[in-house]
């Protein structure tokens, strides 16, 4: 999935399919600046990733977004932030690894704030925001 979405041309193809609806290779080649054989090759990768489906229409295939790939896409998103945070943690370990005993609470004088925070944040976010947003949505 990461691989399928990681290529700019493939993302351009997906975006085109989203905007234009189902399209032939010829139509895609008009919109995406690569050759038809290259388009076909990218469509194959997208098909294997479950992101694009096709059906024959006359002598050509019509390609469209395949929504059955959604579960994988959701996992991908989950992985997106997971990867980012892992990279962050790894970086901190590298930078701070040798001095990890230092500083955890030395400069934090306002100890009460964190407790206060931890207690209230979840309710604030959960209740307040959704009300506000449902009003915005009208």
């Amino acid at each position: 999935m990461l691989d399928a979405l990681g290529d700019p041309t493939r993302r351009a193809i997906l975006d085109t399919l989203r905007r234009q609806g189902p399209s032939s290779v010829a139509v895609l080649a008009d919109r995406v600046p690569v050759s038809r054989p290259a388009i076909s090759q990218h469509l194959k990768v997208l098909g294997l990733a479950g992101l694009v489906d096709h059906e024959p229409q006359g002598t050509r295939n019509i390609y469209r977004i395949d929504r059955s790939g959604l579960a994988e896409v959701r996992d991908w998103l989950d992985q997106f932030w997971g990867d980012a945070l892992d990279a962050f943690a790894e970086h901190v370990r590298r930078i701070e690894g040798t001095t990890e005993t230092e500083g955890t609470r030395s400069t934090e004088d306002r100890g009460t704030r964190s407790t206060e925070d931890g207690g209230t944040r979840s309710t604030e976010d959960g209740g307040g925001r959704s009300t506000r947003e449902s009003e915005e949505g009208r």
Partner: protein, 149 residues
């Protein structure tokens, strides 16, 4: 319309061996040192830098070798070393942004960092969105809405 506020936020947690002050600083001011730009950016391999401007109203800016290329979001809450929040719309219309909150809490091992990505429902047109999206992220985020809505 069928996309509502019930959509579950995405929550990720990690514990890092540093004080909240240091963890916050590394996460924000030194974002470019750890953010996996090659896979997690609009420009991918062309992206050279990302900077988070540390103040309410500050932007998260992606750069390539020629300069700034796009904004990923705008800081909406800046409360070091405990919380930073920002809108999240890499390559997309800010009006349809998601919202990310990152909190830093001292624990025995250092700092617990909790990232919450919510606000999918803010998109006014939800699943039917067809306006000009240029990045794979928008594609992914849009489909995330579809799949959870």
């Amino acid at each position: 319309m069928s996309i509502n506020q019930e959509i579950a936020p995405l929550v990720k947690t990690v514990v890092v061996p540093a004080s909240p002050e240091r963890a916050f600083e590394l996460f924000t001011a030194e974002m470019a040192a750890w953010w996996p730009l090659v896979t997690h950016s609009v420009g991918l391999e062309k992206a050279t830098d990302v900077r988070l401007e540390g103040a309410v109203g500050g932007r998260i800016v992606e750069y390539d070798k020629d300069g700034p290329t796009c904004y990923w979001g705008t800081v909406s809450d800046w409360d070091p070393p405990q919380t930073v929040s920002f809108t999240w719309h890499p390559g997309n219309d800010p009006k349809q942004a998601g919202h990310v909150t990152v909190t830093f809490r001292p624990v025995d091992e250092g700092t617990e960092v909790v990232l919450t990505h919510r606000g999918w429902e803010r998109r006014p047109d939800g699943v039917q969105a067809r306006a000009g999206y240029d990045s794979g992220w928008d594609y992914v985020l849009d489909f995330y809405v579809t799949s959870t809505g």
